[in-house]
């Protein structure tokens, strides 16, 4: 099965109001080619789930600059001043989530779990509106799954079945997001034939991937 498609075909399901997850950490391991394409379309009022909002000229930050998002769910927005400006001006809704909790909520969505119990956020604003559960005398917050319509990932090397090999620290949220969306699209720095990857080095199983788009190398 060859999952390699054109960028137009891969991204055709992204419409106004779509909820999208985007891999990357401070734009390292972000699908820049897919982001650049979306910047040139008319889509708007998207919801973003991403670790951070990149930089003004890198990663999802480029889409923030074009005000593509109605809502942003992230752990950190400090390196892109425009996100903070839009939040303070009431133009974009921003929900901040502790980074480990963000990873686990995404993982829950992909792994069939109804939620996760974490001590992170107890006694802080994060616990507002959440169920507290005591286990063996210790307090935890119940954090629920975070799903998306589409996940946009980046990987250095992908085979035509979608099996993924990352480079350096570019995995970050990519592997976690691969299983959590209805449609998963990976931008590949390099596409190789099935059988060319060492099964031992594959970090994300290809069954999570729907489409592969040839992108920029790293």
């Amino acid at each position: 099965m060859d999952k390699v498609v054109s960028i137009e075909q891969a991204l055709s399901s992204i419409k106004d109001e779509t909820t999208m997850m985007v891999g990357g950490f401070m734009a390292s391991g972000s699908p820049e080619t897919l982001i650049d394409y979306l910047c040139q379309t008319e889509v708007k009022n998207l919801t973003l789930i991403c670790n951070d909002t990149g930089l003004i000229d890198q990663g999802v930050g480029k889409m923030v600059m074009l005000k593509k998002f109605r809502k942003i769910i992230a752990s950190h927005i400090g390196l892109n001043k425009e996100t903070g400006r839009q939040m303070n001006a009431g133009e974009t809704q921003v929900e901040l989530i502790p980074q480990g909790t963000l990873a686990e909520r995404i993982r829950c969505a992909g792994y069939g779990l109804g939620g996760v119990l974490t001590p992170t956020g107890i006694g802080t604003l994060v616990e507002e509106g959440k169920k507290k559960i005591e286990v063996d005398g210790k307090q935890f917050l119940l954090e629920t799954p975070l799903f998306a319509d589409v996940a946009l990932l980046y990987a250095a090397k992908v085979d035509r079945a979608g099996n993924i090999v990352y480079k350096g620290a570019m995995n970050n949220f990519n592997n976690v997001m691969a299983s959590a969306a209805k449609l998963t699209i990976v931008e590949a720095g390099q596409i190789v034939d099935i059988g060319e990857l060492n099964p031992q080095e594959i970090a994300t199983p290809g069954i999570f991937v729907d489409y592969i788009v040839k992108g920029r190398g790293c």
Binding site: A74, V94, Q99, Y166
Partner: protein
């Protein structure tokens, strides 16, 4: 001391708290400098919350690899024996108590070891990033910061800013001295000889138990 000297003074003092074999996470800014002062006779493994262990120094032109950055987005290297992983594993390490020491800055710390370091409502709202998980999960939490914010107290009876975590801090290290958080309150256990106990008391809103 100018700002540079002051930050290096604090970072070098923090480094003395580290033990051979410790797994350590250093926050962005001043805490990152601790890496420059780790004693040569001990080996510590630095964790980077974007997903690797074995964080090494800033690369040279020869070994620069754009795929390796630290949690502040700066280019770094990975040392032999290091490894990469995804964010779920990274925060499993952090939340699961596998980090021996977390060093980070703070806007405010109080007598109960509560820490506020991620937002000033209406002014600065960068987000908590990995800080809430780090201070909740690490075995030992060291706050490394300037004692006051241009004279305004940061070590308080009670934090007024939104908290990052409750009862989380173990040690506060500033240019004036070292303060231990205990069940009885804050204990001043070491002072920089450039200052007197009275200087430190004046720069601290919280009550200090003097145990030098």
């Amino acid at each position: 001391m100018d700002k540079e000297q002051l930050q290096n003074y604090i970072a070098s003092r923090v480094a003395k708290e580290l033990s051979d074999g410790d797994i350590v996470n250093l926050g962005i800014g001043l805490p990152t400098r601790v890496a420059n002062f780790i004693p040569e006779n001990i080996e510590v493994i630095l964790q980077s919350e974007n997903g690797f262990l074995g964080l090494g120094p800033t690369p040279t032109a020869d070994n620069y690899d754009p795929s390796i950055i630290n949690a502040g987005g700066q280019p770094v290297t990975i040392l032999p024996g290091g490894c990469f992983f995804d964010s779920a594993t990274s925060f499993g390490i952090i939340r699961g108590g596998h980090i021996d020491v977390s060093v980070l800055g703070a806007l405010q710390v109080d007598e109960k070891g509560n820490i506020a370091n991620y937002m000033i409502p209406g002014k600065m709202v960068p987000g908590m990033g990995g800080a809430m998980d780090l201070v909740t999960g690490a075995k030992k939490v060291i706050v490394a910061m300037e004692h006051t914010a241009k004279g305004a107290h940061k070590i308080l009876k009670e934090c007024s800013l939104p908290l990052t975590a409750v009862n989380a801090v173990d040690l506060i290290i500033t240019e004036m001295g070292v303060i231990k958080v205990t069940a009885e309150g804050l204990k001043l256990i070491e002072i920089n000889p450039e200052y007197t106990v009275e200087d430190i008391k004046a720069a601290t809103e919280a009550s200090l138990i003097i145990e030098l």
